[in-house]
Symmetry: C2
Subunit: 210 residues, 2 copies
């Protein structure tokens, strides 16, 4: 019965929302192309709506402003974290220790990096856009903090101690930021982020050797 209902829901969604989703995708693609052509500051919402062949009203149904379009993909990834929780954290993983909790977050963060760089050209355009615009970098830095908050919630949901959850989430973000900074090309993001987790988790033993 509940399966039946969800099929009905899916079908009814597809009628109305398929068009909305198509419009949304056209907006994202149009904005992406226009920003790359003219630079973020030289593109208006009207320009984006025109290129996407939608009205301004439709634009504002999907996005609050043109900055939000830049982070449309991040938003989707961010939403995905909350959904994918139980899949990613193995139930046998001990989350009581900081190292355990950080290890548990690694596959989640790596998957985010994989998703972000699945389309390398798009990722590179996104990076160039941010490099050229301080306001977008600020927004990006804040989005990363929101992602850390989501990671923290995932750990808390799995009964990690609160201080461990907070710290592991911030360290996971630091590993991502390091990976991002150390990646020579977008294609290296995943490997560098993994390496940053490895180095962080191996830290104290390395210090003992020194």
């Amino acid at each position: 019965m509940s399966e039946r209902r969800s099929e009905v829901k899916k079908a009814s969604l597809s009628l109305v929302e398929r068009k909305q989703l198509a419009a949304r995708n056209r907006i994202v693609e149009a904005a992406d192309a226009l920003f790359a052509e003219r630079g973020f500051d030289n593109v208006s919402v009207t320009d984006i709506a025109e290129r996407a062949e939608v009205g301004r009203t439709t634009f504002f149904r999907h996005f609050g402003d043109k900055t939000e379009v830049v982070f449309a993909k991040e938003q989707a990834m961010y939403d995905a974290i909350t959904d994918a929780t139980s899949v990613v954290l193995a139930p046998t993983q001990s989350l009581d220790s900081l190292a355990g909790a950080l290890s548990a977050l690694e596959p989640l963060v790596v998957r985010l990096c994989e998703q972000a760089t699945a389309d390398l050209a798009a990722y590179e355009r996104h990076t160039l856009l941010l490099d050229a615009n301080e306001e977008l970098r600020a927004r990006d830095a804040l989005k990363n903090q929101y992602i850390a908050k989501e990671l923290e919630k995932v750990l808390l949901k799995h009964n990690a101690p609160p201080a461990v959850a907070t710290m592991a989430a911030q360290l996971a973000l630091a590993c991502y930021a390091s990976g991002h900074s150390l990646a020579a090309t977008p294609g290296d993001l995943v490997a560098e982020t993994r390496a940053a987790f490895r180095s962080t988790l191996a830290m104290s033993s390395a210090a003992a050797e020194a």
Copy 2:
């Protein structure tokens, strides 16, 4: 001779710049009070200039916009990192390992926290302002990334390997962010940040025990 010259410079500065500094301080104090009274969005540059008894021209000589005033103190702290480099990192500290580099940054970050919370009431007002305004939180997140970049430069200047410098700076920022998040009151920021460094540096041994 060079000492003499710096004395002359200091004397000449004090004539012109003392007034400028006084004006700058009045602007910061006026903005601080007005933001607390009315909220960030309901205060204009004209309001701030009037309260500070300076012209708008003087305001814009010191700050690009009203957002910059919010981070005036952070900017000073940020400048202080570069100056204080040699004082803070003991030359005997090994910066080749991640743990060594992270330990070396701890006193620097703790000192920043001490400076930030030296005036607890002002720090609390600053925090409330950020809590109420997403744009300011974005700017704050970006400032923290700039501070991480400065910490990285400090390590590089002391010949830490580049990857170690990048990672240690990001982990140090994570420790600060954790301390900030875990501090029940502004007065706890320093202790919680220290504790975050301790936990991070002790991480792997804790995992080995588990």
